[in-house]
Symmetry: C2
């Protein structure tokens, strides 16, 4: 499947075969591809919670508007972010780069985020979304469908997955084998409403 | 190019042919594909600022760590979000859906966000990133390279593009024809550091 076809055919699918189990090798490959998403300074601050425990899925569904895909999709990913990823030794993220790049970027990471709580949170949400979009398109390429979700009680979900301090909960992505297609995609807003040339009026 | 190849071969490219101009039909197609990214409740709250004015690009480069791609890429996209998109008439986003879906989801949008400033901002950053990732992979499929960027002074950039109130500035994506490849991609963090099974310890 071409990347253009994947973008054009990806839809938020709500109905999945509850009996389908994703093979371990597919899950590993999906995670490998997701990890190729970019992150600022390569800090890889996204965290992928892979939920397969059926009991936990039931509990999550009960705090996610009782949406069927939470229990019925093959895998439920909960995308989170570690809001302290920038505090680690920069060598962790940059040991592969030429020395002059390491010397320039390594020391820049911590001061860029330090004391900037909103920027740090934005970075967590952004990285998790870059990873989540990559995950959804990779899934499509591997013969799966997906559904991104924000319809849940974030405090209850955080409790159920024991989200640690200094982490943000971003969104969920259900991945599985569809049993019912989405309704026809609606028109997008016209460019005049979402595209701005050079600067706002 | 397959979607898997696009994900695997996309890199943050810093050096572009400054003489390349993106044909209007490529730009229109890239925007069309970007707009297929999902957004919560389909509110399409991302805003794509397409910067081609060379004078403005020079000024942006001066507040973006003097990074060459800001002026040299064919197009500079600045991804923003309208933090009041959820206040519009829901029919704007849902007129395509079956009546029972409209009846259920339409009235849910405003109360979901109302009075929740952090959630609204998260949604803006998330949507802009879902769109930006789609943009980068679509660009790859169309024979372009890209570079996502947060290395800029957000207040100065906001002034230069006259970012309106109730909008968030998220990140930039330069798109163009590369003249120099990226250095080899480094190892990603091991799954043990970014993948959590079922729940955190």
């Amino acid at each position: 499947m071409t990347v253009i076809e994947a973008i054009e055919s990806r839809r938020a699918i709500k109905h999945y075969d509850p009996d389908h189990e994703m093979p371990e090798e597919d899950l590993a490959r999906l995670i490998e591809l997701t990890k190729l998403a970019p992150s600022s300074f390569n800090i890889q601050n996204y965290r992928l919670v892979v939920v397969r425990d059926p009991e936990l899925r039931k509990k999550l569904r009960s705090v996610a508007w009782d949406q069927a895909q939470v229990t019925d999709a093959s895998v439920l990913f909960i995308l989170c972010a570690d809001l302290e990823a920038h505090l680690a030794d920069p060598a962790k993220y940059w040991s592969h780069a030429p020395q002059e790049v390491q010397d320039m970027l390594g020391p820049a990471i911590k001061p860029f985020y330090e004391g900037k709580e909103q920027l740090t949170r934005d970075e967590g949400i952004r990285s998790s979304a870059l990873a989540g979009m990559t995950l959804m398109l990779a899934a499509k390429g591997m013969g799966y469908d997906s559904c991104p979700m924000v319809g849940f009680d974030p405090e209850e979900v955080a409790k159920l997955i024991r989200l640690p301090d200094h982490h943000a909960l971003s969104f969920m992505v259900a991945v599985g084998k569809q049993t019912k297609p989405a309704w026809p995609r609606g028109e997008r807003l016209p460019d005049s409403e979402v595209v701005i040339h050079d600067r706002f009026d």
